[in-house]
Symmetry: C3
């Protein structure tokens, strides 16, 4: 039995096989690979895009999905041995074991709460399900977002072909709130695994991603003789890039502070992806996981330009997830 | 590619074809017309009846539906060129294009917020999806409610046969809150399109519907040599009516005021549909879209009487929606 | 047409037939018994386990389910003749009749609000649907929880075989909030119907269950020459028990008081099911409907021990509900 928790657990060849299958499913979307299979989609955070693409994908393969909206309503205990006299009415030990008797696969979205990063970086809810469930588990975004990674890689391969040696500019952008780092972590992991040269552009060292993802990215890059560069210099980052991936995220050193103290200063709005910056690149493609604030993260001209992959990447979520589902529980 | 946004876009013959198919589907409810088709049901406002009838109807035709509950959780930007530094995290341009890659049809419920009618009467969310989506769209109630119209017409035809020349009394009724005008607008459009004589009964001129719907109704009526009469005289409105349709709605001139200033005065409760008023009619049928407050909108005697069509009209939602789905994306 | 509202309406032989079918479905879970059938799952209170097991079960049998989340959003009027000028926008007369035109079965969860037990003990929402609906109805937990009863009986039979003459210790346990009595009522009804000797253990006479369930349990027990014993003595209750069923519930005499006055005193935590108490039994099995607070209701050692049936009982919800669905609307 295998899970899809992070691409770190999957080799480049295995990921490529998923991407190849996703391309086949894009051409021929409906079959019976999941006939009789039931999947629980468990959301501890809201979702529209992920929910829709999973539900449609499972139906396309002849399976059945149940959406469980646990956002705010199902505080789960994850600590072994806990005396449960607080908020939590249920322990993950029971939740995971019972769901495993109802369904053939559990997909989970559980963002960190950004209250205590030293604990949250261990992905405790996902880890709890992995420990106790007896069916395969898919990560629908926790501290990484591996389905988004595959969708990104698929879109990049569709445009660029082989990604080895291509330069990715992974740029932080402004957003008033301190967002989850998961997509940025994932873009770094996915790109380096495929042999891309990655430049991480962010306003200052406080915005650098957790070292466990930085080290993993460096390790993957090194396996291809590539590297990961961190810079705060916009021109350096965009210069010669083949692909620009934009995302906002919050500072890890501010986790746990009151939200009012964690809002991103407006003077960082100049990180917006615009035509001037894109002109520095090697005619780079542009992408961003959605949703995306227009004219804050990127200008309309970039978003609606011919090199924008945002819709294609979002569409690819459907195809890559079907490939993952097939790999884990397909007939 | 065709949408079902308002019956104004559909000719009388086309609407009749939908109604005829709905009657056939009422007899023989299950088939494979939507085999392999996926439909997103996007609710910006709560729904139980519409949601159930669409989900059941799509399943009856062999299709798959995904319910997206955006009520309060997904503020969408609809203005082109907006700098999105406010509440909205996503632009309708992306929402519509991405959903179009996941599904074959998008159905949308998006009530006006009744904050700014001059903008809201242009139905901006629905219009945004129409502009950007690449799949057919169904209106599940915005500023009109065309599915309710078809259900009403079907129930009236089942009882009255040909509706041409029949008199409809469309009566405002009391409700403490200023409700959406959509169903009233729609009842006017549908009835006049089928050649009914419509009398709109309301407490005063401030309750008259938006002139764009009044003018459309008059135009449709004129095509059949009929008319639309506005009256504040209860006896005149009920006199000789073949059908009474009841609905409450708020005053357009109060939109934007604080809610406390927009509550309907209790001294208008006398608009309730009761046996005394119904006795003035030509043994009229009674209907109301549901939900309906008993003994506020209409008395139990009327609601439960032999001429009440409320359950039949609600049931017909299922059948007419299946006819619309078949027309737009059926095999 | 038959409903599944309470096991009181079903004979021991009929319940055993459901349990026998559930065992067969546990071996062979998927078939076409509900092909073309549509079921509405109507939740006035949150649910994850019940929702999942019903949705999966209906899909396993080839049927289609629609989940209607009415929690907090759909105040229904249930009194005949009500002048509906309060919160409720719809009367159960319309809700039940309309849903009956859309689906072939309605399943309902509607907990008492514990504001007025003399009215709530008549189960007014469920009774309203029974009165007005024209399709079969399943109780998904109101003042009793008959699906949980069947799951409990199935798990007990799987371990103990014939239950006649076996001793069940039904023990109250601490929980800070005054919970619904439904599962306790149901455990009493189910066990006595199968001929078990039941000992109800609770802190004091104020915790004894509603007399209508106590009397029914005594009547069922008497039909087998058994009895129902009430005790506040822990040793007496556990002594020689073959099965221990744990559950917390609130005092009926405190219903209607402010919640702050209804919290369970912490000095009753000693009712926790632990190894010391279990050592008094006849190697009893342990069960509890889920969710369950670990180390509050029962210790980890008991919960994770070899005699714990909690996961098996939860799994059985799926199987017994499929048997009930088949009995009511199966082909």
């Amino acid at each position: 039995m295998r899970h899809f928790l992070t691409t770190e657990d999957w080799s480049q060849a295995e990921l490529q096989a998923l991407l190849d299958d996703a391309r086949a499913l894009k051409q021929s979307p409906q079959n019976e690979r999941l006939r009789g299979r039931r999947c629980a989609l468990l959301f501890f955070n809201p979702s529209l895009r992920t929910r829709t693409s999973f539900q449609v994908g499972i139906a396309d393969l002849g399976g059945h999905s149940v959406v469980l909206d646990a956002a705010g309503t199902w505080p789960l205990e994850v600590e072994p041995g806990a005396v449960m006299d607080g908020e939590a009415e249920e322990h993950v030990a029971e939740a995971a074991r019972v769901l495993s008797t109802y369904v053939d696969l559990i997909a989970i979205r559980a963002f960190p709460k950004f209250e205590n990063w030293s604990r949250e970086r261990e992905d405790p809810i996902l880890a709890g399900f992995v420990k106790h469930a007896t069916v395969p588990i898919i990560n629908m975004e926790t501290i990484v977002h591996p389905c988004q990674e595959l969708a990104m890689l698929m879109a990049l391969q569709e445009r660029h072909g082989d990604l080895a040696g291509k330069k990715l500019c992974l740029t932080w952008t402004y957003h008033p709130k301190p967002l989850n780092t998961a997509v940025a972590n994932s873009a770094l992991l996915a790109a380096t695994k495929m042999g891309m040269d990655v430049t991480l552009l962010c306003p200052s060292k406080e915005y650098i991603l957790d070292e466990k993802f930085m080290r993993a990215g460096e390790r993957f890059a090194a396996e291809h003789g590539r590297g990961v560069t961190v810079t705060h210099d916009i021109a350096e980052a965009y210069e010669g890039a083949d692909a620009v991936y934009a995302k906002s995220w919050g500072r890890l050193d501010q986790i746990g502070l009151p939200m009012a103290d964690r809002m991103t200063p407006e003077n960082l709005k100049y990180f917006i992806v615009d035509e001037e910056k894109m002109a520095l690149t090697n005619d780079a493609t542009f992408s961003h996981c959605l949703p995306m604030r227009r004219n804050i993260k990127a200008t309309d001209a970039v978003v609606d330009g011919p090199n924008s992959l945002i819709i294609q990447e979002a569409e690819n979520r459907l195809h890559v997830q079907k490939a993952v589902l097939s790999a884990l529980i397909g007939r």
